[in-house]
């Protein structure tokens, strides 16, 4: 067996062991605390089973919550790509455009999505509220990464084809696009992660009855923390899975690159 495979298997085993250790540690701590607000691992597991099979206090299944959250995320994320990528490309190709607008754009970038909640409550209704918040979370990483990707196109590569007399279209297709796509993909992956993290905030004010953020809120109001933790874990695990899938796709599409970071 190759050493790379050995390393992968050994990492996997260590991860399992670490997970078991954390769960055991949690269990011992919870037993020691002996508080109704500090659920044992067993209780969390039961809550998970309950939510998956019978649904929550209103009978909505866990899978429905997850599905709806995912739909909203991808809607907001989709809008962020459609707005962020063209805008990023434009600002990257025409630096004057960016330089003359950044005094306004950059401060907005630093306003966390949560700070927008009061405005969205006043100015928007229903679906659009949290679609907007999710869009906000995803837009800026995508926009900034796309913008920077254009500036990072290596002039040597452009000159290589220029000397052969390449047409503008040839240069764009063979040099510019392959150059910028990996950075845009990174921006998208980061944007998706942030958008997913906005779900709780978004669903708080959305008013819909279904969604993992909503789920957490429901049970927080009822002080039933086992279910709250199930919600949190679901959010974390799905975010993790999405990230891993994205990375795997990136690794394949951009296999010509040296190892990418997280």
């Amino acid at each position: 067996m190759e050493s790379k495979q050995k390393e992968k298997i050994s990492s996997f085993i260590y991860n399992i062991l670490f997970l078991i250790a954390v769960i055991a540690g949690w269990g011992m701590f919870a037993k020691w605390q002996n508080s109704p607000f500090f659920p044992l691992p067993g209780e969390i597991y039961d809550a998970f089973i309950q939510l998956s099979t019978e649904g929550d206090v209103e009978g909505v299944a866990l899978s429905s919550h997850i599905l709806w959250s995912l739909i909203r995320i991808f809607a907001g994320f989709g809008m962020a790509c459609v707005t962020g990528i063209p805008l990023g490309l434009a600002m990257g190709l025409w630096p004057k455009l960016y330089n003359r607008t950044r005094a306004v754009i950059e401060p907005i970038r630093f306003i966390p999505p949560i700070a927008w909640i009061p405005m969205t409550i006043v100015l928007m209704v229903g679906f659009s509220r949290y679609a907007f918040l999710i869009w906000l979370g995803a837009f800026f990483p995508i926009f900034i990464n796309t913008l920077l990707s254009v500036t990072r196109v290596n002039p040597v590569h452009i000159n290589v084809v220029k000397v052969f007399g390449a047409s503008r279209w040839y240069t764009i297709r063979n040099i510019v696009i392959p150059s910028v796509t990996p950075d845009i993909a990174t921006g998208m992956r980061v944007g998706l992660g942030i958008a997913w993290m906005c779900i709780v905030a978004a669903e708080m004010i959305g008013g819909e009855m279904v969604g993992v953020g909503r789920l957490i809120l429901k049970y927080a109001e009822l002080m039933r923390l086992a279910e709250v933790i199930v919600g949190m874990l679901v959010i974390g695990i799905i975010g993790f899975i999405m990230n891993e899938i994205f990375i795997a796709v990136e690794r394949y599409l951009f296999r010509w690159r040296a190892e990418i970071s997280l």
Binding site: V156, H157, N159, V160, V161, K162, V163, F164, G165, A166, S167, Y170, N174, I175, P178, S179, F254, R255, W256, R257, A258
Partner: protein, 244 residues
């Protein structure tokens, strides 16, 4: 009429980089332009290749103003210029692609040249899997595959370690003797210049002007300790004002 005529001046803002640089290039000669670091040699190379414009004057090939879309030019850059997202063979095939060479013919020629530069078997490798020396060989292969009228090399061995550099100097001579092309080779290394050139032009410091032009008739491979070799080396060193 000379094959290539160069008559250029270049100014960046208020600074004169090239001042009335005038020379010709004969067909099939290996012309080396040698000068101290930062004297504007790369600028000359870029202007000849049409990558940069000159402030005044012109470069002509057979009387026509040089144009990458009209003339068949090739350039080997100083820094690694392999396109990372293409495999070796596809990188080398870019030139023929741009010039609309029929695929079969291009592939055959590419295989020939890849073998000539010593990279047979690496066709499907990405540049991240190749060493610096190998990447420069790819750049050289890419430059030769299009059968250029004029091949410009801008300090192609500058980023390589000393041993690889020595090796590549020998390789370039071997390749040139097999695929005779008109080459303009830029370097700051005087020994390299005398080792390779059939004719050498010495440039001064900024603003660059021509200090000397020498024909070199020594047989290849050249002996670094030959008295004529050493004489030329001495003269060029003086003319380039390298020892200051």
């Amino acid at each position: 009429m000379a094959f290539v005529t160069v008559d250029i001046s270049k100014r960046f803002g208020k600074m004169d980089v090239l001042r009335d640089v005038r020379f010709t290039v004969e067909e099939n000669e290996f012309l080396v332009i040698v000068g101290p670091t930062g004297c504007g040699k790369t600028t000359i190379a870029n202007i000849i290749a049409g990558v940069e414009p000159c402030t005044s004057g012109a470069v002509t090939i057979r009387g026509e103003r040089v144009d990458p879309k009209k003339h068949n030019l090739s350039f080997v850059f100083q820094e690694p210029s392999c396109v990372p997202w293409k495999t070796l063979i596809n990188d080398v095939l870019m030139g023929p692609e741009i010039k609309n060479t029929p695929r079969e013919q291009a592939r055959r020629r590419a295989s020939e040249i890849i073998e000539l530069v010593g990279l047979a078997g690496f066709e499907n490798y990405y540049s991240r899997q190749l060493s610096g020396g190998m990447q420069q060989r790819v750049a050289i292969a890419r430059a030769y595959v299009t059968d250029p009228e004029l091949l410009i090399m801008d300090e192609p061995f500058g980023h390589l370690d000393a041993q690889t550099r020595y090796l590549m100097q020998g390789e370039i001579m071997r390749i040139w003797q097999q695929e005779h092309k008109t080459v303009v080779f830029i370097t700051n290394n005087i020994e390299e210049a005398v080792f390779l050139a059939s004719r050498v032009i010495a440039l001064s410091k900024l603003p660059a002007t021509i200090r000397g032009v020498h024909d070199i008739n020594l047989p290849h491979p050249r002996n670094l300790t030959d008295p004529e070799f050493l004489r030329l080396r001495r003269i060029l060193t003086e003319q380039c004002e390298v020892t200051d």
